[in-house]
Amino acid sequence: MKTALVVEDSAMMREFIISSLSTFSAIRSVEAANGFEALRLLPQKVFDIILTDINMPDINGLELLSYLKNHPNYQAIPVVIISTEKSEQDRKRGLALGAIDYLTKPFQPKDLQLIISKILKL
């Protein structure tokens, strides 16, 4: 059983992502509505993959990513960043910071599923 952390501030987007993930019976999803919630959840469970939006209030996705990659406990967790097609610079930054892959909105469930199955080998 793999656990995924979905960090995304739009409730509907979150649901969309989680239901796309639900096609994998081996994945259990945990949701966070913002960076703070994610920071809270991180020490509580062992996550096998993290999906985070970049555009969020307070702590944005890049800041979260930077924190993860500098933290000994979390740096090995693969992170997928979700951005808009327009913010190429942010995307580049994210990959430079260590994100393993990215998705641009809008995306189809199968795009997400493809990335996930590659990363988690499902």
Partner: protein, 670 residues
């Protein structure tokens, strides 16, 4: 995601976003006029269009997603400083709001070409290409920023940083060490505080083992005109370190203090609150209502004095004036009461969203296709009640999905549409708010209830309950009509808890059901527990208050007209026979003397009536029902207590439970 329900979800979320957006655009307009536009407002508007675009794109609503895409572009340029904010922009935004409302309406009505967004789109594109300001520098050689921070800035944050550099604001690196358990509140508080005096450009959580276990470290980039000492003073915490990011030494000390004394106009950030609402602690509201309650009593005393004065001195000038004053006072108090009570009222729609999400989740988990329909979102209820309602409602809905709605196969066989429907409606009925949960499932199955009841010894084996009794059984503790323990609804236990919760709110719950067709739960609640009109009665040595809203009439009778049926007292009122309850007995009062000509206070609950037997009606007055505390919350027959300006408080009678007791007793006796 199923088409119809996701469309509905989208519409509801889109409408929420639009509402928020409209308010934000208005704020933007105001701030342009006052020349203090906040960058985070623009960013917020950007993110809202971004959300809209994302969601509509996912669901394939091309028209809407295409339109919002362009708007998102425009807002992105705005926030990155590539185009200037102006009234033109605001106008286009307002026009876009209208268009979007229209496009959503189109979606609801399943039309496609009522709305033509191209004129507005043209304007948007013009704006995007019109005032392009020169491109920004994105390196910061004059700043002392570490690699890690620099690399985690988004394009937007870089722009904000550049802006602050351009404005010659001071730039600081604020390092905070916060506790694991409370960092989010504290960080929010500190950010809010800092944002009042400058701009928090970025917030970076940072792993630093030196901070120790149980701590989180955050590094903020902060632009402001304050000095470092000032910042430290304002933040009032011990674990803050501040470093100046600007490599060049700032201007002379005198200029610093000068800038400090000036209100922070130079920074172009606004100290004005953009919100027109205030958060109020419910306890404060309660205190205000308490004071008003006492004012009500004082007013009654003034009215008393005025009456006595008139009686003693005839129509003296003083007496007449006093009485006029008392009337005026009453009018103003009523208005005050109304206003305060209304502050506690919130629309029921607030819990609809929460419930909607849970229902979607549940229907995914149970593989039952369920549609949700809401109505009466604007019906208002006291805030506390709304919060207390969400658990009972969730429970009822959970039961409906779990036990009520059949799976697609069964439904098809029964000739029902494959998708089940759960309808939540709220409306006002007199002094009450009624909330109904209706499902078109298989209804409560009397046979199953019978079986389970017999199994649990709740019913003697030879007894065949009628529908009413079945429902009573459902509400008794420890009952479940499901054979297995499902993860979903626990043991299906809890309808008794639901009932208790509702009674705790001084409401009641009823059920109607039809096998094969569906079930409806109806919850009736008083709109607010605050100030109500009550009849004060005397029974023996004690006085009680009965809320007028429960009373249908009062009548004085002759003791001899009371008849007895099945050892219960009844009275023939016109064409009906009404069961009687002697308050002196119900409350175990010591008095044995029974009046020759008692009064009957006829209370009505739903279709049932009962007559409460009292010795005297002493008057009508406005009261505030007060809770008697947790321990005395669930005393049968008592709704609470109140002050009526006498030495002891007076208990308020819960008419509904009295009626239930009277009619209930009859059913069992049969």
């Amino acid at each position: 995601m199923e088409r119809e329900s996701s469309k509905r979800d989208f519409i509801s979320e889109a409408e929420e976003i639009l509402e928020e957006l409209t308010g934000d655009i208005q704020s933007l307009e105001t701030s342009i006029q006052h020349n203090n536009v906040r960058p985070d407002l623009i960013n917020k508007i950007f993110r809202q269009f971004h959300s809209m675009k994302g969601i509509s794109g996912m669901l394939g609503f091309q028209k809407i997603s295409g339109f919002t895409h362009e708007l998102e572009n425009m807002l992105d340029n705005l926030r990155l400083g590539k185009i200037a904010v102006s009234q033109k922009v605001v106008d286009v935004l307002f026009q876009s709001m209208d268009l979007m409302h229209g496009m959503i309406a189109e979606l609801i009505d399943e039309q496609t070409d009522r709305i033509d967004p191209s004129p507005v789109l043209k304007k948007v594109n013009e704006l995007i290409h019109e005032d392009q300001l020169p491109a920004q520098q994105v390196t910061f050689p004059e700043l002392d920023l570490d690699e890690q921070t620099l690399r985690s800035l988004t394009e937007y944050e870089e722009h904000r940083l550049q802006e602050n550099v351009n404005r010659r604001a001071q730039l600081y690196n604020v390092r905070l060490v916060l506790d694991d358990a409370t960092f989010d509140h504290e960080l929010r508080e500190i950010s809010d505080l800092l944002n009042q005096h400058g701009e928090v450009i970025s917030t970076l959580p940072s792993f630093e083992s030196a901070a120790g276990p149980g701590k989180m470290v955050f590094r903020l980039i902060y632009g402001t005109n304050l000095t470092a000492e000032n910042i430290l003073r304002k933040v009032e915490r011990s674990d803050v370190t501040i470093g100046n990011i600007r490599k060049e030494i700032s201007k002379t000390a005198s200029q610093e203090t000068e800038e400090e004394q000036e209100p922070e106009r130079a920074l172009d950030t606004s100290l004005k609150s953009l919100s027109r609402t205030v958060r109020v602690d419910i306890q404060k509201l309660d205190e205000v209502i308490n004071v008003i309650g006492e004012l009500v009593i004082t007013r009654a005393m003034v009215a008393n004095v005025s009456r006595e004065l008139m009686a003693a001195e005839g129509h003296s000038r003083l007496g007449v004036t006093l009485s006029r004053v008392a009337v005026d006072l009453e009018k103003k108090l009523n208005e005050l009461q109304r206003n305060v009570i209304e502050t506690r009222l919130v629309p029921v729609g607030q819990i609809y969203h929460k419930l909607g999400r849970m229902i979607r989740k549940l229907s995914r988990e149970t593989n039952k296709q369920v549609d949700l329909r809401f109505s009466g979102e604007d019906t208002e209820l006291d805030k506390i009640m709304i919060e207390e309602l969400s658990d009972p409602l969730m429970h009822i809905i959970r039961n409906a999905i779990d036990h009520g709605i059949e799976n697609a196969d069964e439904r098809r066989k029964a000739g029902k549409p494959e998708r089940g429907t759960i309808r939540l409606s709220a409306f006002q009925r007199g002094n009450n708010v009624v909330i109904q949960v209706h499902d078109d499932g298989r209804g409560i199955q009397i046979k199953k209830v019978q079986e389970q009841a017999r199994k649990r010894g709740l019913l003697p084996p030879d007894r065949v309950p009628d529908e009413k009794e079945c429902i009573e059984i459902l509400f008794s503790p420890g009952f479940s009509s499901s054979d297995e323990v499902t993860e979903l609804s626990g043991r299906g236990v809890g309808l008794d808890v639901v009932k208790k919760n509702i009674s705790g709110l001084k409401g009641f719950i009823s059920v109607q059901t039809q096998e094969g067709r569906g079930t409806m739960f109806e919850i009736t609640l008083p709109i607010t527990l605050a100030i109500i009109q009550a009849l004060i009665v005397r029974v023996g040595q004690n006085k009680y208050a009965i809320p007028m809203s429960s009373i249908s009439e009062t009548v004085q009778i002759d003791r001899n007209d009371i008849r007895t049926v099945d050892r219960k007292e009844v009275y023939g009122l016109r064409d009906r026979t009404i069961p009687l309850i002697r308050i002196s007995e119900a409350f175990h009062l010591p008095e044995k003397v029974r009046s020759e000509t008692p009064y009957l206070v006829i209370v009505k609950v739903g279709e049932h009536s009962a007559g409460l037997v009292v010795d005297e009606l002493t008057g009508q007055q406005e009261i505030v029902i007060k809770s008697m505390g947790e321990k005395l919350k669930n005393i049968p027959g008592i709704a609470g207590a109140t002050e009526i300006g006498e030495s002891k408080p007076v208990l308020v009678i819960d008419a509904e439970s009295m009626v239930e007791e009277a009619t209930h007793g009859r059913i069992r006796a049969g």
